[in-house]
Amino acid sequence: MPQFSLYEEEFHPSPWQRTWAAFRSSHIAMVGLVMLGCFVFFALFAPIITPYDATEQNIDGLLIPPSWTANGVISHLFGTDALGRDLFTRIIYGCRITLGTAFITVVLAMLVGVSLGTFAGMLRGVRSSIANHLLDALMAIPTLLIAIIIVAILGAGLLNSMWAITLALIPQFVHHTRSFVRAEMKKDYIVASKLDGANRWQLFVHSILPNMIETLVVQGTLALSIAVIDISALGFLNLGAQSPLPELGVILADGLDAAYLAPWNVAVPGTAIFLMVLSINIVGDGLRSALRKRVSH
């Protein structure tokens, strides 16, 4: 009698689990994920973990050095700035504002971009060609320029800079989605669904979108790192977030005036932005490699 094993099951990991396994195998990607997790934690729980208020000025304690230097005090972990505001608090809130705004911008851009891209991808004909080319060309306008124009029309401020960056990120999503959709539309399973009688909307939601999500996530991380750099650049140039809002670029610009007396005012916010972008990039890179490994097997 053949032995049949009752307890062996076939384990088919879903695509997500496979991606996650591949991601986990890279140490660097995990480190990046942990860093990113820290930043997200700071962003979400900022009011709980910060000891002071972000705009509270302490006139007696100006330009206190960070706690690890000789003159620093532990009550101000990163020291204070020229108006006596605690730098640690400001950095935490800054992470919240920068990362939060960048995230919202990316989500908005993704929504608009994906819809436009799918629409353009499903179109055919001369219209689509013209629209595609025009969009490609307009994609080339630099983010800073769009931001300047929007600031000139609407005025400076965090909200207006968000519009600018959303506008700048949309073309990338459109481009990517369009080429993806166009490539998918030729594939057999789409043809099969069409023969089954699916209309365009159902095609999109049930067939194309699930396949697109992974590339979307990768695109999203790329866009997120660009958004973080752009938001802080606009804040630095005083075109986006305005002082005293504790956005990381604004904190950097504020610290520039006292840069010789108090270099930590410039070093700490800059390092924060750098680490944030680095972790996003590492995670994005890891995701991309994981995806590639999964697809190529």
Partner: protein, 343 residues
Amino acid sequence: MIQILTRYCTLLVLTLLVLAVMSFSLAYLFPGDTLENLTGLVPENEAQREALERQFKLDSSVVLQFFYYLGNLLVGDWGYSFTSGLPLLEEVGIALPATIELATYAMLMALFVGIPLGYYAGIRCYSTTDHILNSASMTTYSFPVFWFALLLILVFSLQLDAAPLSGRISLLYDVPRVTGFILVDVLLSDLDNKSLAFKDALSHIALPTFAIGAITTASLIRITRRSVIDVKHRPYIAAAVSRGLSSWQIFTRHILRNALLPILPLMAIQITTLITNAMIVETLFSWPGIGNWLIQAIYQRDYPALRIGMMAVSTLVITLTILVDLFNRIIDPSREKYEHAAV
């Protein structure tokens, strides 16, 4: 061939037209008086205002106004700046070549350093050297460009006193403006101490170029590396190996050109990022380029300058992008991206 050229020319003209429409509409969208935004002139009394309005066709329909505006643009009559009162053509003519010079040198640095390094990393993929290069480029790529420039200033200018941090050349030199590119102009001029001036200009251009170039180099390294790795895993490379070609032969005959192709479309995005970074870095180094000029204009709400500046920069970037696309199309007609109208 002619077909492709005409298509791209039409595209260029269409896009520029769209830009002109946007630039024209900005005169209405910007706060303040439309007439002043359009011309840059502030009429002193009613009579002057009416004369200007008649001249710029503001009393007739919007379409007529636009065509008049377009005519002015093509001729070179771009209006005057609010802050300096100089004609905008002159201002842009001084500022734009400065940015182009900076961007060109940064791009050259990226091309000549980034692509070879990318190839190297790709060939020796997953080795230690590759990991080092990959991490270095990832780290550099993640630097916010303004912080990177600040660090360069702090280390090289202030600590080591190795390079100056503002301007294109020391103000003591009076270099007549011929082409707008400072290095060329110094060589063309007849100053007494030309070599000294040239060295001075070089030292001024060193830090800004490095700040922008390093980041572009890092992205180029990553792109090239990815492309090389993709090519390496193609079946025809395996076939070549199995046929017994040496690695050098494989590299020169197959990898070199095939890996180069996918990079080109991505160059367009790199150019855009390069110009944005150049504009930001210009403010830090007081480099008198178009980025610095535009940012000063927005601080002082100089609307005519913003209108024309936006037009100038967009035209530059779009022309470059379309040229790169055209180049791409010509040397690689197999791409499916640029589909014709399939009716």
